[in-house]
């Protein structure tokens, strides 16, 4: 490969989509497969401009089903392959991603969420949480990073490739249209110079030597004959997933060391409004804290419960009608905590709105 796309460290001011393209370059991604959909398309546009300068490839497919399955093909051929999609495209991606789950294929997909259901808006939402964490006919054996801003997009796009290839689960970078389209300052860097080693990729087909002569043939499948056979396969995947989960989970907490009147639970860009609400609430004499899961799958459940234990009430805030709420309830099951909500499907949430919601009480 030619010279490194990102050398040293550089302060930049970019849109989130441009950040993702640079991150994939820096992460030594080999090939992108994709189908245009707003607000994701710029990732492809930047990739197709930058990629060829560094020997990277691109294929524009006929739809997202094909984008997903060609990405699967690229990965099993041993390449760091990725895609990006959103909304109805994410819906079509669920079929190939269920294959990736079953066959432990480390695909990476970037998802700047747009409004839903259906075609809805091309602007912003957090309504693809359920689909990205538990979509497809499967068990949700996936890794989902929910980013809150441009530095996150850079850091976690790079990390997604390493997590995927280390643990062999399909991995998603879940952003949103605001992050995709807005410009923000951030630092881009050569991962190697920060001590980040890219996990080696490995072909699952097309290995050296003649199959059956020099080595056994590789047989990859997702179909099984008996219930028992399938059960064993799924339970093995579940075991690996549970084992990897504590190493994968990431979170941030703010002012959660002491007793709280309210703990705000939010993820992604909404977390920034929650962070902004904390000093405002303090001025009002309300003791508030905030917990932000960075991985929505696996969920940092213990950490969330620990924070929740110190709060009188919980407030769940999201730009969806209860998708994150469902994950929260599952994580806090059995805890005797009242949960309030501020659910704003498809629209943004400001710090002031969070403060107002808390002041207004239940």
């Amino acid at each position: 490969m030619s010279e490194k796309p990102v050398k040293g460290e550089r302060r930049v001011f970019m849109t989130g989509n441009e950040v993702c393209a640079w991150a994939a370059l820096a992460a030594e991604a080999d090939i992108m497969y994709g189908y245009p959909i707003t607000p994701q398309t710029d990732i492809m546009q930047y990739w197709t401009r930058l990629g060829p300068k560094f020997g990277r490839k691109f294929l524009q497919t006929e739809d997202e089903i094909s984008a997903g399955f060609t990405t699967v093909g690229g990965v099993i051929a041993g390449k760091r392959a990725f895609s990006a999609t959103t909304g109805p495209g994410n819906t079509l991606f669920q079929e190939p991603m269920s294959m990736a789950e079953m066959m432990r294929i480390p695909t990476v997909v970037i998802i700047p969420q747009r409004g839903g259901p259906s075609t809805a808006t091309v602007i912003y939402s957090q309504q693809e949480v359920t689909m990205t964490t538990f979509g497809g006919n499967g068990e949700g054996f996936r890794i989902v990073y929910s980013t809150a801003g441009h530095q996150d997009l850079y850091d976690y796009t790079i990390k997604a490739f390493n997590t995927a290839w280390k643990y062999r689960f399909p991995t998603f970078v879940l952003g949103d249209g605001y992050q995709a389209k807005m410009r923000e300052p951030l630092t881009i860097y050569d991962p190697a110079e920060r001590g980040i080693k890219m996990v080696e990729t490995e072909p699952l087909v097309g290995l050296p030597g003649t199959p059956g002569v020099d080595r056994p043939a590789q047989y990859l499948r997702n179909t099984y004959n008996t219930e028992e056979e399938l059960y064993d396969v799924v339970m093995d995947i579940a075991k690996d997933y549970e084992k990897a989960a504590p190493e994968i989970i990431e979170w941030q907490d703010f002012d959660t060391d002491t007793e709280m009147d309210v703990l705000i639970l939010a993820h992604g860009v909404v977390s920034r409004s929650a962070q902004g609400a904390l000093p405002l609430l303090k001025d009002e004499g309300i003791r508030a804290g905030h917990f932000r899961p960075i991985t929505l799958r696996p969920m940092p459940e213990e950490q969330m419960r620990r924070a929740a234990a110190k709060a009188k009430r919980i407030l769940v805030v999201e730009s969806a009608y209860g998708q994150f709420l469902k994950l929260v309830k599952q994580s806090l099951y059995g805890m005797d905590k009242p949960i309030d909500t501020l659910l704003r499907p498809g629209v943004g949430v400001t710090a002031e709105e969070i403060v107002d919601r808390i002041k207004e009480g239940r």
Binding site: D30, I31, Y33, K57, L59, T61, E62, D63, I65, S66, F69, T70, T71, V72, G73, G74, I76, A77, G78, K79, A81, E95, P96, M99, P203, L204, V205, G206, L207, G209, T210, P211, G212, V213, A217, Q218, Y219, L220, R221, N222, T223
Partner: protein, 255 residues
């Protein structure tokens, strides 16, 4: 090995995996014959170490461990994009996508059409058995007018369900220069092998998309005995689906 197996062994293509034989297709099924010709074609081209074989969902999935080839079983209709993805990532691999008529002409039609128009350098092989074999004999895009299936119990009415897909004709009309397109039959294995070899050689030569439809049998769902089975392949199907090469690189179209 039984006497019969020993007697059969020398006939087995070298790239077959003997440990998974006898294979799992029904007696009289055309899949086995097509895969035998494919095996011989691979042997004669000497490419066992370069092929990645992809099979669809449908009875083609029974070939997931059929060959001593690196193999991937995909989803219904999605073998073409998986093989395309592999080929794009590793152009030195010879990618073969093996599918049924439902997989290629119905659920995966968009992939067939677009791989052909993009002139993807992969080889797609499609088994036309005029029905959905694996799911128990429903109508396929290739079901003949008047043919009874589980979802056309009174015979296929083209007025209601359209006419059978003419796959190679369609692919030939949209494919670009460099494409190879043919229809063979299990009724003429020598010719079928020739087509398969050319379809793979065309990929090796880097010319473009290669597609071979194979007229095949499904006695189980046709509910036919050996004689009726052959008659259906050689007469009924052959009347509707014409054997031949529809596109050969560097050559005028021929039929």
């Amino acid at each position: 090995m039984t006497r019969e197996e020993i007697a059969l062994a020398p006939n087995m293509p070298k790239c077959w995996n003997p440990e998974t034989k006898p294979h799992k297709f029904c007696p009289g099924c055309g899949h086995g014959l097509a895969l035998k010709m494919l095996g011989e074609a691979i042997d004669e081209l000497g490419i066992q170490d370069k092929v990645v074989f992809g099979c669809d969902i449908g009875c083609s999935l029974l070939s997931w461990d059929f060959f001593n080839l690196d193999s991937v079983q995909t989803h219904h209709g999605r073998t073409t994009p998986v093989i395309t993805g592999i080929k794009r990532a590793r152009p030195e691999i010879i990618g073969i996508a093996y599918m049924g008529d439902g997989g290629g002409y119905a659920i995966g039609a968009q992939h067939l059409v677009n791989s052909a128009t993009r002139n993807e350098k992969v080889t797609a092989i499609l088994i036309n058995n005029t029905n959905y074999g694996m799911t128990g004999g429903q109508m396929a895009p290739t079901t003949l007018p008047g043919q009874k299936t589980e979802t056309t119990p009174y015979g296929r009415d083209p007025e209601e369900t359209g006419y059978p897909t003419l796959g190679p004709e369609m692919v030939a009309s949209i494919a670009r220069e460099g494409a190879y397109v043919a229809r063979g039959s299990i009724a003429n294995l020598r010719q079928l092998k020739k087509y398969l070899k050319k379809a793979i050689q065309n990929q090796i030569d880097g010319n473009g998309f290669s597609f071979v439809e194979v007229m095949s049998s499904c006695p189980t769902n046709w509910r036919t005995n050996a004689k009726e089975t052959w008659s259906f392949v050689e007469k009924d199907m052959a009347e509707y689906f014409h054997v031949g090469e529809f596109r050969v690189p560097g050559q005028k179209e021929e039929k």
